[in-house]
């Protein structure tokens, strides 16, 4: 740990003023990721701004669909009455995340802003990390990379996005409500999360002083028939080796609409549109699934230790589609 300033503004305006008063200011909600990173000095904000006084905790149905306040706690959202029926994939992804104690603290907005588990990124003694320092190199590419990404990587960074929630939200076409002193804007989650490319330090389409205020999920038929399956090394409190979020709109035994997002494999939550297309218009059966799985590995770039993720992803996804399709 190192000396830093802490502020707890009571109004939204004062919060934006505080957040823009220093170039390294960071917002804190649950603190489950920021505090870890500060202890390891990987994040070194000189000012930490507590945003918990902001009134962004509600989970509600609006004209646009489901709206989840960014400061709602993961465990509270997971326990929202009726949500398991209307958006099963969301509840399953929340409950597959971390451990109960962490879910009680962690906010929805903070979950989406959490940073990679790449051990080289998190080890303060390792300097070869382009996410930490511009053009410092990537220790993971030539090192241990079993847990790293196969999609969306660049020669600068192969770190996986760790969130389960983001994968489920991607399968639900979620968009984010972003607020700042300049007002409010919306951003599709898929566009909000950035590929590392040549700038792995820049992970989100967000400007200084801007906050995620809410997540919005459009009202449609996709949430009801949805599943999240996570494969991990131990039973709980562990990030995904691979995970799959599947949301289906089934009409008369045929797939009318499908959204498929996968986790543990991408530098950001990864949408598999070609697999979706291969399902639409057909009933779910073994032959159709096998055909669809031919599209899973398109663009995959396995590293030395994570080649198994391609096959593991196919098998996990196949099972998830099966189980989503089987929901009556």
């Amino acid at each position: 740990m190192y000396p830093f300033r802490f502020q707890r503004p009571l109004s939204e305006t004062e919060t934006y003023t505080a957040l823009t008063s220093s170039p390294t200011a960071r917002a804190i909600a649950g603190g489950t990721t920021l505090v870890d990173l500060m202890r390891d000095t990987v994040e070194r904000p000189d000012l930490v701004v507590d945003i918990n006084p902001l009134p962004w905790r509600a989970v509600e149905t609006t004209g646009r669909g489901l709206r989840i306040g960014a400061l709602a706690r993961m465990s509270d959202v997971a326990a929202t009455p009726g949500l398991a029926a209307s958006h099963r994939v969301l509840v399953e992804a929340l409950l597959a995340s971390a451990a109960p104690q962490i879910r009680n603290m962690a906010s929805i907005g903070g979950n989406l802003m959490q940073r990679t588990r790449c051990p080289y990124f998190r080890d303060p003694a390792v300097s070869q990390c382009n996410k930490k320092t511009h053009n410092a190199g990537c220790a993971a590419i030539g090192g241990y990379n079993r847990e790293h990404a196969i999609f969306g990587t660049s020669d600068q960074c192969v770190a996986t996005h760790p969130s389960d929630l983001a994968v489920a939200l991607l399968a639900l076409d979620a968009q984010l409500v972003l607020r700042s002193r300049n007002g409010e804007r919306r951003s599709m989650l898929e566009e909000f999360m950035l590929l590392p490319g040549g700038t792995p330090m820049r992970e989100h389409d967000i400007i200084p002083g801007e906050l995620i205020a809410a997540v919005e999920i459009p009202a449609n038929a996709l949430g009801r028939q949805s599943r999240y399956i996570k494969i991990r090394d131990r039973g709980s409190f562990e990030f995904a080796l691979v995970s799959a979020a599947v949301a289906l709109d089934m009409r008369g035994g045929t797939v009318h609409g499908a959204r498929i997002a996968v986790g543990g494999v991408g530098t950001k939550p990864w949408r598999l549109r070609q697999v979706e297309s291969a399902l639409v218009g057909f009933p779910i059966n073994e032959d159709r699934l096998n055909l669809a799985m031919n599209h899973v590995a398109i663009g995959a770039k396995p590293l030395a230790e994570n080649g198994f993720k391609v096959e593991l992803l196919k098998r996990t996804l196949k099972r998830t589609i099966h189980e989503a399709g089987a929901i009556a």
Binding site: P3, T41, R117, D123, A139, Y144, G235, R315, T316, K318
Partner: protein
């Protein structure tokens, strides 16, 4: 609390009862204090307290070129900074070997020179008024290194032969064997990862030093620290009443303990040093990565004719750590031709240290996996193979066993587990998309006993204190010694307090190697019997069990206390016997046919452990060992990046240990075993054997489930994706 009014000893013996932990309330209410919890700033003398945080090297080999402490010294709250340039020179105490110090090489004495021998080695110490100030000051120390390419890779480094054993002619017998198994098994490096972080609080008064310390042996800590500082051992007081798990990591005196004492002397204030979780991975030892080659030869009836067991383990560049990987190979099964050979690979890393079931659990993984392979090759049941090779004596030592319950363990275990439902053909049992497998292994660990002293103090107020320097790192030594004292004093447990973990108490060895109950327990038994006679002579036989009556008698005799001190040495009855605990482990696993995910569904452990002093605590010990065995089999590994030498699993999010959801259904049974030879109490230690045999039973079950033999731990899902 009213005492018993009967004049006879308590009717029911306390030994054998599942008494709740006598310190349980203190532990769950926070009243039990651990090393880092002593002396806080609002206590007397606490205002003066300083915190120390060390900076670890971020290279694995080389030397310090320059070290600049200017910025660190100017940081808020800093008391001082120590580096090799200004730290006091300590005594060369390399010849003073402590518990778990390797025989060959010298322990690392911190801040004595510019050399860097491993990643994370302390290179500077920041001392400040608060923990956070010390952390920050440490980060401001600027070190430039002359780095050299480190040797980190176990696979490419050259092994060095350190020792071998043999009986018979194993090579010749193997050459002629009708059936042969030849296989190589790997185990990843593992870290102990106890819940409690290692911590030291050091305070000097003149030339006398007091340490509140996380240690498995206060006497050993005092001796080593005294030698390094040139003190008499009696001038070092070590206090360690409670230890939040250690598994071997607190057997040695590590550099952080020395540094805390150094800083406390240099800056003339009490100094507290707590390792961070990340520092735990490089600062307090580990189970060495190992590779074992096993060759088994058998005749046409599947009777063993040859065992050749070779092991290689990692060690550091400055100490040669050797562990007992191969000791059970000579006696576990009946074979007249056995050869073993141990080698080390010296790497630029810290020195390994014993970790639960040290050596033996490593060796059993390979030996019991190879036995399983032989059973399939010979087409017989793994239990039948073991029954055909059941020895009637220890062929390595040529001695009878003091007791050996293997056959009963196989029989009871097979029956309780439902072994008969096992399909002979691997890969044929299914439950939906899960492939099911049954596996078993034999477990053993030496049953040692050492010398210990105990003091019994009868007080005029009607209380009894039993004191010994032995530790309780979690098995429940406070409770078991209370039970032993009660039975042998003939006084109810409500009058008895056991005090442990303090060098001001009579000497006892470190709690390691599963010998504390045999050692401190036997000493408690002997001293309590003697003390009872002395008490009876003082207060009269009829008043021994009625402490409230002592006051008047003590007062008449002009006494406030009766103090009886004594001890016991290794029992003569052990002479001429091979003393070991044995057991049989059965595992059911489910392997996801698609994803390779592995779940341990059931574990059955049946053990011969001599007399069970407290069945509840013994079961608890075994339960913990089983969970740790799941970790060894399926989860735990520390990998050093060969380029930098840094552990890439430096926290509990990346170093995976089992969680509740990984816990299987567990069945634990202790067979009746009366061992008159092993020690006067007739007990066998539990801590180590609880881990031994779990990993091979699980690995064998994984093979039975899948038909795929994975010969490396941990077994990962990608190993099993068909």
């Amino acid at each position: 609390m009213s005492g018993p009014t009967t004049q006879s000893p308590p009717e029911k013996p306390m030994i054998g009862i599942g008494l709740l932990r006598v310190d349980g309330r203190r532990k769950v209410t926070g009243a039990a204090r651990y090393a880092a919890e002593f002396l806080v700033p609002n206590q007397p003398n606490g205002q003066n307290l300083a915190y120390a945080v060390f900076l670890g090297a971020d290279i694995a080999r080389g030397s310090i070129a320059t070290i600049d402490i200017t910025k660190a010294e100017q940081a808020d709250g800093v008391v001082g900074i120590l580096t090799f340039k200004n730290a006091p020179r300590l005594h060369d105490a390399a010849s003073v070997k402590g518990v778990a110090d390797p025989k060959s090489g010298s322990r690392l004495v911190p801040l004595q020179d510019e050399h860097v021998r491993f990643f994370g080695q302390p290179v500077a110490l920041a001392v400040a008024r608060t923990l956070e100030q010390a952390q920050h000051a440490a980060s401001l120390i600027e070190v430039q290194y002359k780095a050299e390419a480190p040797s980190i890779d176990f696979d490419t480094a050259t092994p060095r032969h350190v020792g071998n054993t043999s009986h018979g002619d194993a090579e010749a017998a193997f050459a002629q064997a009708a059936a042969k198994i030849e296989a190589t098994y790997d185990i990843a490096r593992e870290n102990h990862q106890p819940m409690e972080l290692h911590a030291t609080l050091a305070e000097w008064q003149g030339e006398k030093l007091t340490l509140h310390e996380k240690t498995q042996g206060v006497v050993n800590t005092a001796e080593i620290v005294a030698a390094q500082f040139g003190l008499k051992p009696e001038d070092v007081t070590v206090i360690s009443p409670f230890v939040g798990g250690a598994f071997g990591s607190a057997l040695r005196v590590w550099p952080h303990t020395i540094m805390a004492a150094m800083a406390a002397r240099q800056f003339k204030c009490p100094v507290k040093l707590i390792l961070s979780r990340r520092q735990m991975v490089t600062s307090v030892g580990y189970r060495p990565r190992s590779r074992q080659k096993v060759r088994l030869g058998a005749d046409a009836n599947a009777k063993l004719t040859a065992i050749i067991h070779e092991a290689t383990g990692e060690t550091s560049s400055f100490e040669t750590y050797v562990e007992n990987v191969l000791t059970s190979t000579g006696f576990l099964h009946n074979c007249t031709n056995v050869a073993t050979r141990y080698s080390t690979v010296a790497l630029d890393t810290g020195t390994p240290t014993p970790m639960r079931g040290p050596g033996v659990s490593t060796g059993l993984y390979a030996l019991e996996s190879a036995m399983d392979e032989l059973a399939y090759a010979a087409g017989i049941d793994p239990i039948e193979l073991r029954l055909r090779n059941e020895p009637d004596k220890d062929l390595a030592k040529n001695l009878p066993f003091s007791s050996r319950a293997t056959k009963e363990c196989y029989r009871i275990g097979a029956q309780r587990f439902g072994w008969s439902k096992r399909a002979a053909q691997p890969g044929t049992m299914r439950d939906g998309h899960w492939r099911l497998g049954y596996g078993m292994a034999t477990a053993t660990y030496p049953s040692n006993q050492d010398k210990a002293d105990v003091r019994v103090i009868f007080d005029i107020g009607g209380t009894v204190r039993v004191e010994t320097a032995a530790s309780d790192i979690g098995p429940g030594t406070y409770t078991s010694l209370t039970q032993i004292a009660s039975d042998n004093l003939g006084i109810g447990i409500e009058h008895i307090t056991v005090d442990l973990g303090d060098t001001r108490f009579p000497k006892a060895p470190s709690e390691g190697g599963s010998k504390t109950l045999a050692t401190a327990g036997s000493a408690t038994l002997a001293v309590c019997r003697d003390a009872r006679q002395q008490l009876a002579a003082l207060v009269g036989e009829e008043n021994v069990a009625d402490p409230p009556k002592w006051r008047a008698i003590f007062r008449r005799q002009g006494k406030r206390q009766l103090v009886v001190t004594g001890g016991s040495a290794t029992a003569d009855s052990r002479e001429g016997f091979s003393c070991n605990a044995f057991g049989a482990i059965f595992a059911e696993v489910a392997v996801d046919a698609d994803t390779g995910q592995i779940k341990v569904r059931r574990l059955t452990g049946v053990y011969g452990l001599g007399r069970i002093v407290n069945p509840r605590l013994t079961r608890s010990q075994v339960l913990g060992g089983m969970m740790q065995g799941i970790g060894m089999a399926l989860l735990e590994r520390t990998r050093l990046d060969p380029r930098f030498g840094n552990p890439t699993d430096g926290n509990l999010a990346d170093y995976l240990i089992p969680v509740c959801k990984d816990a299987p259904l567990v069945d634990i049974v202790f067979v009746n075993e009366d061992d008159p030879h092993v020690n006067p109490l007739g007990v066998k230690g539990v801590g180590e054997i609880a881990l031994c045999g779990i990993a091979p039973a699980i690995a064998n079950a994984v093979y039975h489930a899948t038909g795929k033999r994975v010969r490396a731990l941990p077994i990962l899902p990608e190993n099993l994706m068909a």
